[in-house]
């Protein structure tokens, strides 16, 4: 764990010092604010719970986009600059490298997500907010962010180019997001499989409404673990190429 934390700390420091980190943070927070004002708060009178529902829906999109942008450089940049050699020749296991990189980016993404907490607090001024709803919504956001970031980490492990890494991650994300459409048109049992795999529609909506289902938590953790494992395998395969 010490090695993972060591790499994560360096990664977080590098993101905080890089223009990319600031640009992503500024754009995402500005977009979150606009969406809160125009999307969640707009459209006439609403119950506080409805505002929160729309707010968490809007933030899921910006969180996934932020995850792709933050993760695209994680391993791709190391491979391009040759700094991956420093990690691969150190007495570290490959999964520690991947976990460390992931954790560093995830801490930044989590920080970015939690900074938006002031918006639900604003709803409290004129409405009634259930803290359970807020907690469930943010838990959903953090889980969805972890899954998207893990997908991004995998994308970053397959390419030396950050652009290619972002396209790979974006492609997988879009495919998983659209699974619910396939679930609609396919026959059972395939329809059930496609619906279950849907990243947002099937598993995120409960969090938006303030509910926490264990199966949704397990799904996001499984997706995160699967893509982190895949990224580790990609890293290992470098030694065999």
């Amino acid at each position: 764990m010490t090695n993972v934390w060591l790499i994560a700390r360096r990664e977080l420091g590098a993101t905080l010092r890089s223009p990319l980190g600031f640009v992503v943070a500024a754009l995402v927070l500005a977009l979150d604010g606009l969406l809160f004002n125009l999307w969640a708060m707009g459209g006439g009178e609403k119950l506080s719970a409805e505002v929160l529902y729309e707010f968490f829906y809007a933030l899921s999109g910006t969180t996934m986009v932020a995850a792709v942008f933050l993760s695209m450089r994680l391993l791709a940049e190391e491979q391009r600059d040759g700094t991956i050699n420093l990690l691969l020749t150190s007495p570290l296991k490959d999964h520690q490298i991947v976990l460390g990189k992931f954790l560093g980016a995830y801490l930044f993404l989590a920080l970015l997500t939690l900074v938006t907490l002031y918006m639900p607090l604003l709803v409290m001024v004129h409405g009634k907010v259930s803290w359970g709803h807020v907690f469930a919504g943010y838990l959903g956001l953090l889980l969805l962010g972890a899954a998207a970031l893990a997908i991004g980490t995998f994308g970053s492990s397959v390419a030396r180019s950050q652009v290619v890494a972002a396209f790979v991650a974006g492609g997988i994300l879009v495919a998983l997001l659209l699974m619910w459409l396939l679930g609609r048109v396919a026959d059972r049992p395939l329809a059930d499989v496609f619906s279950y795999l849907a990243l947002h529609n099937t598993h995120y909506k409960a969090f938006m409404g303030g509910k926490i289902h264990l199966k949704d938590v397990v799904y996001y953790l499984s997706v995160s673990a699967f893509f982190l494992l895949a990224a580790t395998r990609m890293l290992e395969s470098r030694r065999w190429r």
């Binding site: 600059d81 691969l88 020749t89 150190s90 007495p91 470098r238």
Partner: protein, 311 residues
């Protein structure tokens, strides 16, 4: 310290390293000499556990690069041709980070960083961000990261590549300072570099070891180089050298400024006395007569030539 046994690496159809075996004793400095594409970097990357051998193995202090990768990586320091540095970090913070990665006990990190900084003469730039350093300093930081955990074996891939003449001299001194404290394996395609810094030379060509030994062991097998500069007509020099026995190759340049003519000769034995007599006998003004820097170059080309003739 290091034993390589029949190491082979194949990329698709291309055999980058083939059946390479050698041993390095503790404290020795070994130079891998070869043209670009000879397999030096691939060999070093296998020793550094960055690539798995297709067949064969290498043992570092008894640990196998294929099966005990973690143990091997604890015992090595590696500088690739492009130093692996995080540009946004300061030199001191970077070296402390690497020391922790390489399992230096927390209480010793500061002392090890200080020592690496002193040995690589980085005292003036410890607080400086790496991305603001010159290429020469970056190479030195690259060496510092390879030795900060005091590994018994240090692998340096083309340590002087891309350096200017002043930096080359500094780097040469730095590599010499590392000898003794570490076992060194370094690669270069620059012949004089290897001859000046290494105890033993492994000449690589097309993925194989074409020859290995000390410079003086390899030199007699090859041609000697002689350089002669005279004042006079080129034709006269050509005629005079034509009468010298034992010359295997004569290259006479066109007359330069002030009528100075230069010739480069290759021979199996030292022919300098005969050349001097012939030049003076022909009425030419002998300005300079000495060994050219071709010695190791000749070794290299001869060894490569003989290997190509065999294959």
């Amino acid at each position: 310290m290091l034993v390589a046994k029949h190491l082979t690496k194949v990329f698709g159809e291309f055999r980058a390293v083939e059946d390479v075996s050698f041993e390095v004793q503790q404290g020795q400095c070994i130079g891998l000499l070869g043209l670009n594409g000879a397999g030096k970097t691939t060999l070093l990357r296998m020793l550094a556990c960055l690539l798995s051998p297709t067949s064969g193995t290498a043992l570092v202090d008894g640990a196998d690069v294929g099966e005990d990768g973690l143990k091997v990586r604890e015992r090595i320091g590696f500088l690739p041709e492009v130093p692996p540095l995080y540009g946004e970090m300061s030199v001191g913070r970077f070296l402390a980070f690497v020391a922790r990665l390489r399992r230096v006990p927390p209480a010793l990190v500061e002392a090890r960083v200080k020592e690496a900084v002193e040995r690589c003469q980085l005292d003036g730039v410890v607080e400086q961000t790496i991305e603001t350093l010159s290429y020469g300093f970056r190479k030195r930081v690259g060496i510092a990261q390879a030795i900060v955990h005091q590994p018994p074996l240090v692998l340096l891939d083309e340590p002087i590549a891309g350096l200017d003449p002043k930096q080359i001299v500094e780097m040469r001194e730095l590599v010499k300072r590392l000898r003794g404290a570490h076992t060194l394996v370094l690669s270069s395609h620059i012949l004089t570099e290897i001859s000046q810094t290494c105890d033993r030379i492994l000449v690589m060509h097309k993925g194989r070891i074409a020859a290995q030994g000390r410079e003086d062991e390899l030199t007699p097998k090859a041609h000697l180089g002689v350089r002669v500069r005279v004042l006079g007509a080129r034709e006269k020099l050509v005629a005079a050298l034509g009468g010298v026995a034992g010359l295997e190759r004569v290259e006479v340049a066109e007359a330069g400024a002030g009528g100075v003519v230069e010739a480069r000769l290759e021979c199996r034995e030292d022919v300098r006395p005969s050349v001097a007599a012939a030049v003076v006998g022909a009425g030419l003004g002998l300005l300079e007569l000495g060994e050219s820097e071709l010695a190791l170059e000749s070794v290299f080309l001869t060894l490569i030539g003989s290997r190509e003739a065999r294959t």
